[in-house]
Amino acid sequence: MALFQIAEPGESAAPHEHKLAIGIDLGTTNSLVATVRSGIAVVLNDDQGRPLLPSIVRYQADGRIDVGYGAHTRQAVDPKNTIVSVKRFMGRGLKDIAHVEAMPYDFVEAPGMVKVRTVAGVKSPVEVSSEILKSLKARAEAALGGDLVGAVITVPAYFDDAQRQATKDAARLAGLDVLRLLNEPTAAAIAYGLDNGAEGVYAVYDLGGGTFDISILKLTKGVFEVMSTGGDSALGGDDFDHRIFCWAIEEARLQPLSPEDGRLLMMRCREAKEFLTINPEAPITARLATGEMVDIKLDVATFAEIAQTLISKTMQPVKKALRDAGLRVEDVKGVVMVGGATRMPQVQKAVGDFFRQEPLTNLDPDKVVALGAATQANLLVGNKTGKDEWLLLDVIPLSLGLEMMGGLTEKVIPRNSTIPTARAQEFTTFKDGQTAMAIHVVQGERELVADCRSLARFELRGIPPMVAGAARIRVTFQVDADGLLSVAAREQTTGVEASVVVKPSYGLSDDEIAGMLKDSLEHAKDDALARALKEAQVEAQRMIEATAAALKEDPHLLSVAEATRIGEAIEKLRVATAGDNRRLINIAMDDLGFETQEFAHRRMNQSVNRALSGRKVDEISMGEKT
């Protein structure tokens, strides 16, 4: 029977059935893609052998889009259409973005997220990011020679819900199946932890191009437990460039610069910063469009002074994260350095002084996040590595709360709660016959709603009319393993499910995403329906394989009649999947889902029982096979 030719999940039947999974570090300055080959995580280079892809996208009038080095070389001549550091705009409104005045873009304030007007039209940060992801996806497909099963994409641990959602939307737009959004410091810890086989408490200090993250993790027996996390999602290497830039303008006594000259000088300042990593002095020279010549020198002592404030700004979140974890400096066994900006000797010294130990820098700080992401992606698709499997328990970085009377917040889910997590809160009506209620969800630690980030406004409708205070509306907030929030509401006394209307304050609605997908597909002369059919077929195939594997593993959990019904449902789905009617495939998937619901419950109960009885599942299944 064809059913039993399929391998169990996580047990590759043959080497060629190795599933292609990638890890992507979608960085502010540079992005990378990595995969696990023959058990080792490697960064995939471009066709010229370069590992990094500059996170720069240039839109041209004829519709062409340059990504990476091509866009990088044109940024000084075409700054308005060349978007750099787009990560800083993800899930952000115009008022949230620092140094707007120093940026050459034509910003468009849109409801939710800021957009940029280019020669190719108005682009949202999600679209710009998806171009970077598409480029990395193409690179991976070319290198691996096949369809990708899925990707792990990293985000700063300190990213809030809107920023995470925007990242996931960008991946969807790029046609990537996101296995998980993984926090960057956690990814780095995976890359380090597995290599060194270390146990204990680790701090990950991650200073990237545009974001700063600190995470405190505990490694015990293959479990990565994030104890606390903190940071600043608007502080990074870019800010050091900006400080040098301000210094240079003053030093060279320059008048306000054109966008082109501004970008040129900014590039020179960045180069000077990198030069100072191993040299005592860096020249900053640039011939401006005005004919003016900038020719100044920046020495290490001056730079150290310039950098001082920014570096000390990173130490506050470090202290807070330690406190949240209930730990002291001396409890930390090692400090992992991540992000290109940690190459600055001034940063390494400050971190070393604080933790009273040499920070770990043996993995390339530019690559470590991508390598960890690839390692996790490989685990998530079920490719066996030969090493023990590990488990990752991550946390939500910022508290989720609700707006109460008087503009005050009430915390529903506190920061550093292990995810996935859920909390329920009960509300009541304050007027007779009231049938609707507005709920405002915010994220942040401050007491006033105005000081927190507005995530979403929900309107509960369809509450049965009752006297004031009689209705009991239970609102459940669920945060999934990607750190994303969803909300459900139910009126308790009557059991009526109140409809939830979600108005995301930031981020895109499903309709907007669908619209963009349609646009991009039309652009590529593709067919949206064909793509939807393909997606349904892939999902159906996945379901057939998973069910078949489950049947093989746990036949004892089903009666003969139940097994027969499931077998029939599989066969129906198989037939439907071979055809091209998406509706039939979806119906068959629903049917199979219905038939296997109870089976899935029993399997989960069984595995929990086994976990608690202290026996290893491996031993049990070995025993049953013989």
Partner: protein
């Protein structure tokens, strides 16, 4: 045991206040190792949903049992005893008076930037808390006196909050 089990049953632990925290940690990790969404990242939608429910449930149970005050509140909740939030009117006057004295001492030390005094207050309070938790163990697991346990838990809620304030004061001095 299933999704609807109580927190103790979920980890197959006896329903008691005194608890081997290392054992709880190990069981929690074992359960998460089986049900966590990362184990089902590539499974079908139904299994992914189920896995999220289970992992959420395991996190909720772990959080409720890990810390002694939460565990005590949960035990009282299971027994149908209402702890109520920190309600001043329910507390005896001498306890409230003592609380005010503590608060004044903390505010004074904080205002004067007296790190040493705050440390001393922290240690004194910590010792007091430990003593009360030991007493709570007797009340729950030996005497089975839930009324006395409720009273003890109410006091502990005040004291834990106070400890938190001292730690905040210490943290603000360090910055």
């Amino acid at each position: 045991m299933d999704l609807r089990s109580d927190h103790f049953a979920l980890f197959e632990l006896p329903r008691a206040f005194r608890l081997d925290v290392a054992e709880l940690d190990a069981r929690y990790r074992n359960v998460q190792g089986q049900v966590h969404p990362d184990r089902f990242a590539h499974a079908g939608a139904a299994e992914r949903r189920l896995s999220m429910q289970w992992a959420t449930r395991a996190n909720e149970a772990y959080r409720a049992l890990k810390k002694p005050l939460e565990r005590a509140k949960y035990l009282l909740h299971l027994a149908g005893h209402d702890v109520q939030a920190e309600n001043n009117t329910a507390m005896p006057a001498d306890f409230l008076m003592e609380q005010m004295e503590w608060r004044e001492a903390v505010m004074e030390a904080r205002g004067g930037g007296d790190h040493h005094e705050l440390e001393r207050l922290h240690n004194r309070l910590r010792a007091d808390l430990d003593r009360r938790y030991a007493e709570l163990g007797e009340l729950f697991d030996v005497a089975g006196d839930l009324d006395a346990a409720t009273d003890c838990v109410r006091r502990l809620m005040f004291l834990e909050k106070l400890l938190h304030e001292i730690d905040d004061a210490l943290a603000s001095l360090e910055e």
